[in-house]
Structures are given as C-alpha cells and as structure tokens.
Symmetry: C2
Subunit: 241 residues, 2 copies
DNA sequence: CGCAAGATGCGTACGGTGTGCGCTACAATC
DNA sequence: GATTGTAGCGCACACCGTACGCATCTTGCG
C-alpha cells in the first residue's frame, strides 16, 4: 500500500474536494451581509468569510474582484430589501415619500454597517437596486409638481437628511450593541455620568419621564419623523407658488 | 572633560537620540490631520505617521491609546477650525444658523476623510471642540424661540441634513481626487457614459449650459443652499404658530 | 468513449497592518 | 552621585488583502 501512496494515494485517502454548494457570487454576497450584520464591518475579513462558506479565502476572488467590490455588492444587496414605489400620483406624493424615507431608515438600522458606506459611495458607484429606489423617489417629486431642474435637488435634500440621521442612529446603536447591553440599560447607565455631554440621543428629555426611560427607541422614532416632517414641509412650501 | 566621557564610546559616536521635537500628543494629532488631508484615511498607518515624525510607530502609543482614539482626536482637532456663534439673538437666528451650516460643510470638504467618521461617531464620543459647535447651534435654536423639548430635535434635523449632504459631496470629491483629474474634466468625461446613471452630481442639468459645464462646484453650492433653505423653511414654519 | 480545454478551488507567499512587551537611555529628583 | 520614572525603540505576533501557479473538476467536441 505505501508503494503507490506517493504518486496518487488511495482513492479513499485522496483529498476529494468536499461537496460544497457551488460558491456563487450571490452566495458570497449573502454570506457577507450575514457576517456584516452579526459582527460589524471591522470583523469582515476574506478569510473569515471564506471559512463560513467552507472555502479558502482566495477562492472568493474567482467571483469577486476584491473586498471593496464585495462591500459595494453587499450594499446594493440590502437595497434590494426596499420596494420602490408603485405609481406616482400627485395627491399622495408626501405619503409615499414618507414611506420611502422610513423604509430607508429602517434598512439602515437593520444593517448599521451600511451607514458609512452610504456616505462613501455617495451615489457615484450606485448599484441597480439602489438606483431603482433612487429613481422611484425622483419620480415622486416629479409627480408632486417640482419643475425638472428642481426635483433632483428636492430628492437630494430628502436623502441627505435621511442618510444623515440614520447614520447617526446607526452609530449609536452599534455602540450599544458592542457594549452588550440593551438600549434602555445603556441610556440609564449613561445618565448619571451625563451632564457634560448634551448629545442628542442620551440627553435627558424634559417630557414624560415614563416614556423617557421606558422607550428610548420611541424617542428616536419621534425625532426622525419630526425632522422628516420639517424637511417635507419646507419642500412642500415650494409647490404653493 | 574627556574623563567623564563614559567607557563606552566617544560622545560624538555615541548614538545620541537625534534631537526631535518632543513628540507630544498635539504634534501627533496635527501630523495625522496633515497625512489624512493629503493621502486619505486608508493611507494612514501608524508606521507612516511615525516616520513623518521621525519616530518609530510604537512610540506613538506613549501618547495615544490606539489608532481609533487618534482618529477621534483628529476629528475634534479639525472641529477647532470652526468658530462657534458669538451671541444668540432672535432676529438673526436664521442667518447665524446658515453660517454655521456652511462652515460645517466647508470643513467637511476641506477634510473629506472626516465624513464617514462623523457618521460613525454620531455625536456619542463627541470631543470638546465639536461640543462647542454643537451647543452653540443649540443656543441659536433656543434663541429662535423653539420650546425646550423641540430645540434639540430642530438642531438634529439641521445637522443630519448638513452631514448627509456633505458626506455625499466629500465622497464625490474624493473619487475625483483619486482619479487625478479636475472636477470639470471628470464631469465631462462622465457625461457620454452617463444616461444610465441619474445620480445627483453628474446629472445633466437642464439649465444654462455654460454654467453646467464651467462651474460644477457652483452647482454643488446651489444644491447645498437650496436644501438648507428648505430645511430652515420647514423649521421656521414651526415658529409661526 | 476519449481527450482537450476551460473553469474552479486552494496552498503558499509577500508585503503590509495594529499593537503588546521588555530593553535602553535620558531627565529630574533626592 | 544614586535613584527613579519615563519617552522612545526593536522585536515579535497575529492578522490582513491578494497575486500566483498548481491540482482538480466540468464540459464540449471529435
């Protein structure tokens, strides 16, 4: 037996490639999103991702040009969770835009790692899913009655607000997640040390103390929709001229 | 005099520590900002930064806990460029807030690497300089007449917009800078391939064709102030009740 | 059916990263 | 002058992204 072990080895000991599930680009991106969601962006390495797929790190490069491209693909993949608006009719434009904005925020909070990327991409290397959302939004502003040379500025204003506030929220939630506490514990533990830090999400609210302590995420929701309404108020005012 | 020259070697040949400028935390942060400005965030490494200061990489750790903290310090350092508003008087609140917003945007465009950090910090680990700006802004909204439980939401809305749009602009400018072209060349080279990408900064504008080609950065300015005015319109409307 | 050609995965290796550890050499104090 | 704290450094470790070439599998064609 040891005789022929050198050139070929037995059929049984020979390292058969273990049956694997085909390692496609879609699988890789899906696994990347999963890893990003569960461990954050700084924990994403090609080796770790490969081992999650029962593959070597370098195998991924057969399907993905490099890590940056992989992240771009992951970003566009989660944009696929959003459903672009169905139609564009003038009377409901504000309700529809509000829904899109809320969805975009919710998507960002589900995948907090996406926030810095959103800024970094800046809609320059925009993918197909993101583009569907983007042009759906544009169509809403067009239907609302904004002139052609203004509708993109209006849409840009809205998305800037949403991305800005969602990024801030995402960072806050990521910090909490890293600490291992719940949002309420975190806020409570922060309050005594506070007073020197009048930041947005940890400030003592003058309002109802029950709500203040019990539902910090309700406060975040209120903050988001407050600002969203103001932005839309300001935009809507342009249509009354 | 030669008596106490030590047994080891001559004073001249002995490896005197080359006179260095004292390697303080401030120097390190200043050099980091310089490096970040000139080469971007992915080019910042402790070794490269050390060599710029004629020091070993590990020497920096005497003054700075780790790379993340260094970046936070760098962020707060550039916030020092902003001057907080002097007073807070009701009639000029809008003009003052506009100035702060424009300054914040200009700061971000001077240091494009800061944009993703701004989102990531989310005003959680806010430094003293950033806090000065933040509370100065809050004071403006208070003076404007916003009730106590609303002024922080108003300020949050404004900063979300500014950070959101500035991050997008910064990413766009960084992409151009990496390409080595000027903004006009870049936009011109993009137009023929465009049509499938209705993104904000590269869209063909229906307006004056001269301005369209000649001053893309004027377009960016217009876009910024358009959105800023809408946001402030929406906020100001809350004061008329 | 046999064989050539291409696609796919992987082992190895290279140059880079952040940073912990313990040593040296200087500064200031007693 | 002796002591003690400390700034800086060299080394080392574990990890990273990824280029390259080889082994293997799949597929199309004669």
């Amino acid at each position: 037996m040891p005789a022929n072990e050198k050139p070929t080895a037995s059929v049984w000991t020979r390292p058969r490639r273990p049956q694997r599930d085909q390692l496609t680009c879609e699988h890789i991106v899906a696994a990347a999103v999963e890893l990003l969601d569960s461990e954050g962006i700084e924990a994403l390495s090609m080796r770790k991702l490969g081992s999650r797929l029962n593959a070597a790190a370098t195998s991924l490069y057969r399907h993905v040009a490099n890590k940056d491209e992989l992240i771009q693909l992951a970003v566009d993949d989660v944009f696929g969770e959003l459903e672009p608006p169905a139609g564009a009719e003038r009377p409901q434009w504000r309700a529809t835009v509000t829904r899109i904005a809320a969805d975009l925020r919710a998507m960002t909070l589900r995948h907090p790692w996406i926030a810095p990327e959103l800024g970094q991409i800046g809609l320059v290397h925009i993918g197909p899913n993101a583009m569907r959302v983007s042009s759906g939004l544009l169509a809403q502003f067009e239907a609302a009655g904004f002139p052609a040379d203004e509708k993109d500025r209006a849409a840009g204003t809205l998305t800037a607000y949403v991305i800005g506030i969602a990024a801030s929220e995402a960072a806050y939630l990521s910090a909490i997640a890293r600490s291992g506490k719940t949002e309420q514990e975190w806020v409570a533990g922060l309050r005594p040390a506070s007073g020197e830090a009048p930041q947005r999400h940890s400030r003592p609210r003058e309002g109802d103390p029950v709500q203040r302590d019990a539902h910090p995420q309700q406060i975040r929701d209120d903050d988001f929709f407050y600002g969203l309404d103001r932005v839309l108020d300001g935009l809507a005012a342009r249509l009354d001229t």
